[in-house]
Amino acid sequence: MAAFEGASARWARRIIIGVPYVWLAAFFLTPFLIVLKLSLSDATRTKPPYQPQGPDFPADESGWGLLSLPWRLLEYLGSWLSGGWAFLAALDFENFVWLAEDSLYINAYANSLWIAGVSTVLTLLIGYPLALAMTRAPEKWRPVLMLLVILPFWTSFLIRVYAWIGILKPEGLLNLALMSLGLISEPLEIYNTPTAVYIGIVYSYLPFMVLPLYATLSKLDPALLEASADLGAKPLTSFWRITLPLSLPGILAGSFLVFIPATGEFVIPDLLGGKTLMIGKVLYSEFFNNLDWPLASAVAVLLLLLLVGPIVLFQRYGAKQEALG
C-alpha cells in the first residue's frame, strides 16, 4: 500500500487496477447484460436468429477494429442506462412466461438443484474422511497427498468423465467384475441413468471439496483435541463437538465449490446421464439444436437468478477458505 501512495505512482496504480477491471467489465459483466437483453427478445429465422430489443450495439466507426472494443462496450452500457424506463416498458417477457408454463423447464431446474444438492452431500461424506485422514498422516507425506488430490483436478475433466463410461456400461468393467464374482447375475443398469450422473459429479468435484476441507482442518489446533481427551471426551464426542464445528468454513467453501457449478453441469449428464434432465443440457440444446437463442438466454438468466444466492454466500463466506488460496 505504502508503495502506491506517492504522486508519481498514481498512474501505475490506475493501470494496475484499470486494465484487469476493464477486461472483466468487457468480457464478464457486459456479456451478462447482453444475455439479459436477448432473453427479452423474440426468436426469428434470421441470422443471428433473434429480433433485438433495447439499444443496438454501437458499430465500429473509428476503424480501430477490436481495439475499439472497450470504448464501444462503455458506450453500449451507457445507452442501456440512459434508455431508462422507456426501454423497460418496451420489454417482452414472453420467454420467461414460456419457461414458467412448460413443466419441462421447471422439472429441469428442480432436477438440477436436487442432483447438485445430493451430489454435494455425497461429496462431503466422501471428502471429509479423506481430508481428515490427510491431516493425520505423517508430516512428510502431506505434500505428496496434497499433490495426489490436486492432480486429478488438473487432469482433463472430460477425460475423467469419459473414464467412467468404460466402467459403468452394461458390458463394462464394473458389471464384468461383479458378475464374475457371482454377486449379480444381470448387468446393473447404471450408465445413462441419474446414478451415473451422481457418480460422475462426486468423482469430478471431489478435489474441490477436499482442498478447502484440508486447508481448514490442518489449521485446527491439536491442543484442543488433547484438552478434550484429557477431560474425558471420547474421540467421537471430540469430533462432533470440536472438529466438525471448527471445520464449518471449509465445509461451506467446499460445498459451494461443488454445488454451484454442478447445478449447471453439462458434460456429465450429457456423457453419463442418458435422458437425465438437467438445465445445462436444456440450455445447450435450446441453443445448438433448436437455435432459439432468446429462449436459451432466458434459461441462463433464470439459472443465474437461482444461483445468485449461493454465489453471494460463496463470495462472503467461502472465498476466504477458497481451495486455491
Binding site: W23, F28, A137, W154, T155, Y203, V267, G325
Partner: protein, 264 residues
C-alpha cells in the same frame, strides 16, 4: 493429531485415493490393450498411439488447442497478476467490491452460462468465431484463477521488505520488479500452468465460441466419445494425463511448500 495413524485414517486414505485413481488407471491400462473390444484384454500394444499420430483431424485439433492455450494463458497471467496485486496490495479503491466479485464469480459460474454469454457478446460485436474468440474467452476465465493464486501468495508476505526498499529510495516500479515480482514469481508460474491446463481442458465454453476452423481437442474428443469408448481416445487421454501430471509436479515444485491449500 497423534503421531500414530488409526485404522480409520488408513481406510479413508485407501478408499479415497482408490476412488480418485482407479478410473484413470484403468483408462491408461486399456490404452495399451490389443483388442478392438474395449473391455476384453487382448495383450499389450502401442498401435493405438500409432493410429493417433496418423489421425490428421486430431493432430490439427491438438495444434489449435496448444496455440490457444499458450497465448490465452500468457494473457491470463499478465491480467491475473495485475488483478491479484491490486487486490492484495492496493488497499481500498473505487469499485473494489465489484472487482473482487468479478474475480471470484467465474470460479463457480456454470460453464454453459459463461459460454453462452461470451458467444452472444462476440455476435453482438460482430467478431467472427475462431482463434481470437477462443483466446479472449479462455484468458477471461483463467485470469481469475491466476488472480486468486497471486493474491494469496502476496497475502503471505509482509510489507516490510517493500517498505524498506521504498525507505531506501527505490521507485515503486523498481520495488515491483526487483522485490515484489521475484517474491510472487512461483505463484505467477503456477498460475500460468494452471491457466494452460484449464484452456487445454475446456469443452463447453470452446463449443460456444470456437468456429469451423478452430475445433479444439476437447471438442474432437467429445464428439468421438459420445459414440462410445474408443482405444484411440484412451491413448490420447493417456498422453494428456501424462503431460498434465508432469505440469502439476513442476508447478508444485516451483510453489515448493507454499500455496495450494497450505495457506487459505
Amino acid at each position: 493429531m497423534n503421531k500414530q495413524m488409526g485404522w480409520f485414517s488408513w481406510i479413508a486414505l485407501g478408499l479415497g485415493f482408490t476412488f480418485l485413481y482407479l478410473p484413470i488407471f484403468i483408462l491408461v491400462l486399456y490404452s495399451f490393450n490389443d483388442s478392438k473390444l474395449v473391455t476384453v484384454w487382448g495383450g499389450w500394444t502401442l498401435r493405438w498411439y500409432g493410429e493417433l499420430f496418423a489421425n490428421d483431424g486430431l493432430m490439427n485439433a491438438a495444434r489449435v488447442t496448444l496455440i490457444v492455450a499458450v497465448i490465452a494463458s500468457t494473457l491470463a497471467t499478465v491480467l491475473g497478476t495485475l488483478a491479484g496485486f491490486a487486490l492484495a496490495r492496493l488497499g481500498r479503491f473505487k469499485g473494489r467490491t465489484l472487482f473482487s466479485g468479478m474475480i471470484l464469480a467465474p470460479l463457480v459460474m456454470p460453464e454453459v452460462i459463461t459460454g453462452l454469454s461470451l458467444l452472444l457478446t462476440f455476435v453482438a460485436l460482430s467478431v467472427d468465431r475462431g482463434f481470437l474468440t477462443l483466446i479472449l474467452a479462455h484468458a477471461t476465465f483463467s485470469m481469475c484463477y491466476v488472480a486468486v493464486v497471486v493474491q494469496s501468495r502476496l497475502a503471505g508476505f509482509d510489507l516490510s521488505v517493500e517498505e524498506a526498499a521504498m525507505d531506501l529510495g527505490a521507485k515503486p516500479a523498481t520495488v515491483f520488479f526487483r522485490i515484489t515480482l521475484p517474491l510472487i514469481l512461483p505463484a505467477v508460474v503456477a498460475g500460468w500452468l494452471l491457466s494452460f491446463t484449464l484452456s487445454l481442458d475446456d469443452l463447453v465454453i470452446a463449443n460456444f465460441v470456437s468456429g469451423p476452423g478452430s475445433t479444439t481437442l476437447p471438442i474432437k474428443i467429445w464428439s468421438q466419445v459420445r459414440l462410445g469408448v474408443s482405444p484411440e481416445i484412451n491413448a490420447l487421454s493417456t498422453i494428456l494425463i501424462g503431460l498434465v501430471a508432469l505440469g502439476a509436479v513442476a508447478a508444485s515444485y516451483v510453489q515448493k511448500r507454499r500455496g495450494w491449500g497450505q495457506e487459505a
